[in-house]
């Protein structure tokens, strides 16, 4: 099969919707277009049937009961509902007071976790922000060390979205259950890709999203445990009491139906997909490491998901590298690619150093990534890195044996 350009390697940002998902959604736009909350006619019943089938599909993927799945607009909303909803429900003091409870999270969470936690800090909750070690993995021990008698909630992502590292989530879940603390995990980069069982893994609250697993954008889910313990949440969106009162608003029926189908497809193809992506990622990393000097794969050596590779190319600036590989759609930790002009806070927090953070690429592969595309990417990146190193004054200094980090630069 001929290689088709451009190549999509930004599957951690979003994925192409699987055509089988689109097909499942179509009748719900024009034929079964009812409001799932309409209880008195067939249009409503059809929509509700679609929603409840999807709820079963989503629940089956994670080993939950369908009553434990709440539909949202995506992981950002799920995280907000889980974190703010649990904190406010289990607060140790009323609004306007201090010391309302202790929450543990970590500094390399997605902004959709960090920002809700910052808001809770302003609302009188205490937050412990754990800084991970250089390998990026948050362990059970780090949580155990941060626990306090007044800890009410722990929120640790299952997989870091930039570097793909896997945290000790089941172990942290067990710890939280032993201590009677609510445990939330943002599993956006985990669910659908890796086997998940909320019972075995001791999860109380779990966020995931449709568009990361080949479903449509604009729909997500929150798992909310109903038994041992029964987790209660204070709603953020009021009005009508949909989704067991936790999330009001007419359901995005087409989106939910597509999400359900996407969950089913992920479950059926998971083992084969995982193995295939793992070997493609291994090839990508192995080849780049062997062909180029001063290349670093960021994050833990083994504890990483098969679909995310985060690689720094020393003495090459990330945005210019992206420009050189313009036929490959991917992300960079470079400041220049962000609105804030700050390099990736995730890489900075791993102590990777600003210059290597500026030099990083995140390549994330998916269901349609082929070996030919991986081969193309390897060649293109190698060529571009060499082109840019020939231009790089820092590369010259490195080759002369001068430690670039010891030079006093005139910052601007």
């Amino acid at each position: 099969m001929a290689l088709k350009l451009p190549i999509y390697m930004d599957n951690a940002a979003t994925t192409r919707t699987d055509p089988r998902v689109v097909e499942a959604m179509l009748p719900y736009f024009t034929e079964k277009f009812g409001n799932a909350a309409s209880r008195n006619h067939v249009f409503g019943w059809d929509a509700e049937d679609g929603v409840e089938t999807a709820r079963e599909q989503a629940a089956t993927l994670i080993g939950a009961s369908s009553k434990e799945v709440i539909w949202t607009s995506g992981s950002t909303e799920s995280n907000n509902l889980a974190i703010k909803g649990a904190a406010r429900m289990y607060a140790k003091g009323p609004e306007g007071t201090k010391n309302r409870g202790h929450i543990i999270t970590c500094v390399i969470e997605h902004k959709a976790v960090l920002d809700p936690c910052k808001r809770l800090e302003r609302e009188g909750f205490d937050i412990t922000w754990i800084t991970p070690p250089a390998d990026g993995v948050i362990t059970r021990q780090m949580i155990a060390d941060a626990l306090r008698p007044d800890t009410i909630l722990v929120s640790i992502m299952w997989v870091n979205n930039e570097i793909g590292t896997i945290n000790e989530v089941p172990e942290i879940g067990k710890l939280c259950h032993e201590k009677g603390i609510i445990f939330h995990t943002d599993a956006t980069q985990w669910v659908g890709k890796m086997p998940t069982d909320v019972e075995r893994d001791c999860i109380d609250l779990m966020s995931w999203s449709s568009h990361k697993i080949y479903g449509p954008k604009g729909v997500g889910a929150l798992f909310v445990r109903r038994r041992s313990p029964r987790v209660r949440l204070e709603a953020i969106i009021d009005g009508g009491g949909h989704e067991r009162g936790m999330r009001s608003g007419t359901l995005n029926v087409t989106g939910v139906v597509g999400f359900g189908k996407a969950c089913e497809l992920c479950r059926e193809g998971m083992d084969a997909d995982r193995e295939r992506l793992y070997s493609l990622k291994q090839k990508l990393e192995r080849e780049l490491l062997s062909r180029l000097e001063v290349v670093q794969v960021n994050g833990h050596a083994d504890r990483r998901v098969p679909h995310i590779a985060n690689i720094s190319f020393g003495y090459v600036e990330g945005e210019s590298l992206l420009m050189g590989i313009k036929e490959i759609a991917c992300s960079s930790g470079s400041a220049c690619t962000s609105a804030s002009l700050e390099p990736s806070y995730v890489l900075k927090n791993l102590g990777i150093g600003d210059e290597l953070a500026h030099s990083s690429l995140r390549l994330s592969i998916g269901r349609w990534t082929t070996e030919a595309e991986i081969d193309y990417a390897i060649q293109a990146i190698e060529k571009s890195v060499q082109h840019l190193r020939a231009l790089s004054p820092l590369w010259d200094l490195f080759k002369e044996g001068i430690d670039v980090s010891k030079i006093e630069w005139q910052s601007h």
Binding site: Y315, V316, E317, G318, E319, S320, M323, G324, S334, A335, C336, L341, P343, G353, D354, E355, H358, A390, L391, S392, P393, L394, W395, D396, L397, E400, I402, V404, S405, W409, Q410, S411, H412
Partner: protein, 144 residues
Amino acid sequence: MAYSEKVIDHYQHPRNVGSFGTSKDVAARRDIGVGIVGAPECGDVMQLQLRISDEGVIEDAKFKCFGCGSAIASSSLATEWIKGRTIDEALTIRNTQIVEELSLPPVKIHCSVLAEDSIRSAIADFQKKNGIAAAKAESDAAAR
């Protein structure tokens, strides 16, 4: 972000890339002025080396750049503009001219500032090496 065609052209075919030797070599040569501006942690470093005649004419210019496409294009363009010019002429180049020529968006203006700074810095280095009063450069700056 979309780049202008000129930026892409300079990125793909940078003019006057290189140096006149290792950092030690050029430090010892009185006919060469070196300017290095920026910082790796800010994501851009520009190095400009100028070979300047006794009459103060920039006979050759070489650059190296660690930075985004706009930074590479700004420094590449700067070398084109100053080759064959006198020091005084080179010092009249302003970052705004680079912005205009390359159609740089506001977020990339700092790249053009760096390029202007690298010209000033390389010329100042040449003058220092040759005992030419920095007053000349300062009075130029004051006259702006």
